[in-house]
Amino acid sequence: MYQYNENDQRIVDERVVQFRGQVKRRLAGELKEDEFRILRLQNGLYLQIQAYMLRVAVPYGLLSSRQLRMLAHIATKYDRGYGHMTTRQNMQFNWPKLEDVPDILDDLASVQMHAIQTSGNCIRNISADQFAGVAEDEIVDPRPYAEIMRQWSTFHPEFAYLPRKFKFAFTGAAQDRAAIQFHDIGYRAVKNYAGEVGFKIYVGGGMGRTPMIGKLVNDFVPEKDLLVYTEAIMRVYNQFGRRDNKYKARIKILVHELKLPKFIELVETEFAALRQEGAVPLDAAEIDRVTAHFTDPDYMDLPDKSEVFNQYLQDDKDFSLWVKQNILAHKKSGYAIVNLSLKKPGVPPGDITDDQMLSVADIADDYSFGEIRSTHEQNLVFADVRKDDLYQVWQALKDVGFAEPNIGTLQDMICCPGLDFCTLANARSIPIADKITTCFDDMDYLYDLGELKLKMSGCINACGHHHVGHIGILGVDKKGQELYQITLGGSAGDDASIGKIIGPGFDQDEIIPALKNILSTYTRLREEGEGFLAAYRRLGMSPFKEQLYANN
């Protein structure tokens, strides 16, 4: 993974000094809260119901064991012993004290980490395919480009005070696992007929109260133009994005109001002007320098078949279930990708304790080249485990509590913090998530349902991605009562779609029966091997709706 050079290190160190000064001026009353707010947000520091919340950047979801140990240390020393994986692959701490934040940033800087631009109206931390570099279906490894983009967007002087937050996501695989069509800019790395790398660029995707699917703005931007083309998009947005209404300020609204052809015209004109002024294209040498940080680890030459592994598969049914559900094929023979599930009854999705972080770091050192990845579905990944070692890894993960064989099932839900932590919430979400995982705990039933993306948000801001859940749950407030609205048919993948509301909402006691009802309609009407989303798309809303509201 990327290692900081002297310059990279100096920038994060100088940021700590700068932020320490800002905190000092705030505590001395020299900065007003409404001024400090904008500054602290650019450094990932939110004020929530009960305390400050610090969001630490995990660029494109890549962590070393050393970094994870530092996060554990921070959780122990400055927080209540745990952290939280977010839907943009970052780690969040819920209880830091303002006075401690500069010291936390110092600790982070000591392991090449920071909280720069993890919130605020600026270019946020960049997310990417969690299987980058190891997926079988990869065409271009997006990580070097994501890193180049991280550097370019860090303290970009022109784009620090945008109309609204701005999120980039990268993928370079056949299958989009990074939800690029639900980001302000989504980059899909591709190769043209000549084998040259370039990017399909999607603009204006997003969730929130006006969910929109990103629109293709350019089919092939050569890699050398990646930064200048992005600069053109950002400049158009910075100048013309709406600032009069916070809910209409995202770039998706600008694209929508201008209409796509006009937006593209503005971007192309700006791009041409920038080039004419002598904007510097990205050097091949720089791409090579950064790419050299993302070469394969020292894989052994192994046969694809592992005798030990196959023996364990036969002997241990629980192990084989876990393998079937949580393990993915690796591009290198003899290796596998291991998904760690951070979802299980009794624990808010994505929470991880300091001890768990330490154990995960140890296991990564022993079995996966000391590297860990985070996913936008709030789980973790070991990307490079030898098949021969899978049984040991499984046992180690069982001890940690991350071996639930539920990846991709209904239990593997995304869920926002909701009313328990969030000032904007209409309804609780974590307790409902817990009810659901507790109630739907018959694994045979879950496996029979197959892949099912259940996502829940406590309000229309959609932090829990409910718009793109095959089944989405949205907390609403109906005359002071917490209600839950159900949507069907969303998808964050290549077949991106936004879920539709099925009908009137349910209270917290009705929500489980309602889910059961919807699932029974699916199992009754599905065709052989047909997943929930495919069945919904074939059948439409009616049969689900009729069955659900049959008694009303």
Partner: protein
């Protein structure tokens, strides 16, 4: 009034004239409307731009202004950064570009990078302290108006 110009504190005599009352003596900073409507001949003129003014409206008149002030109604409004950059890099404006309005220490590093070289720090803030902000970062990744070579090509 004291302002920061070219990284030093100086005494500044430009007068902001908003169109009300008699025309004051001296060098004037005026809005686009006033510049278009009033007879200001014989004066040194600074033009004050608002974030939603269009640069295309004045691009042929730039030589008439001894300075251009860009207003920040609130420091969260980042349009002025793009404006200054376009003035410098596209329209070739070489004289003073001054940040006015909700301007304080914490924006200066970015402002200078986008082509500003003068700053009216809002009242009640320590202008001496603000001077230090130019040194907040010693490394800059990107090209901008102050640096036309990306970090990886610099030696």
């Amino acid at each position: 009034m004291q302002i920061i110009k070219d990284k030093a504190i100086i005494e500044d005599n430009w007068v902001h004239y908003c169109g009300e009352g008699d025309l004051p003596e001296g060098d004037l900073i005026v809005s686009l409307d006033i510049w278009q409507e009033m007879d200001l001949s014989g004066r040194n003129i600074g033009l004050q731009l608002e974030p939603d003014d269009m640069l295309s409206d004045i691009k042929d008149d730039l030589h008439q202004f001894d300075l251009i002030a860009i207003n920040f109604p609130t420091f969260a409004d980042g349009r002025g950064y793009s404006m200054a950059k376009i003035l410098r890099d596209r329209l070739g404006y070489k004289k003073e570009i001054r940040a006015v309005g909700d301007v304080m220490r914490d924006q200066l590093f970015y402002l200078q990078r986008c082509g500003f070289n003068a700053y009216e720090i809002k009242s009640g803030r320590d202008i001496v302290d603000a001077l230090e902000a130019f040194e907040d970062f010693s490394v800059k990744y990107q090209t901008s108006s102050d640096e036309h070579i990306p970090l990886y090509r610099r030696k």
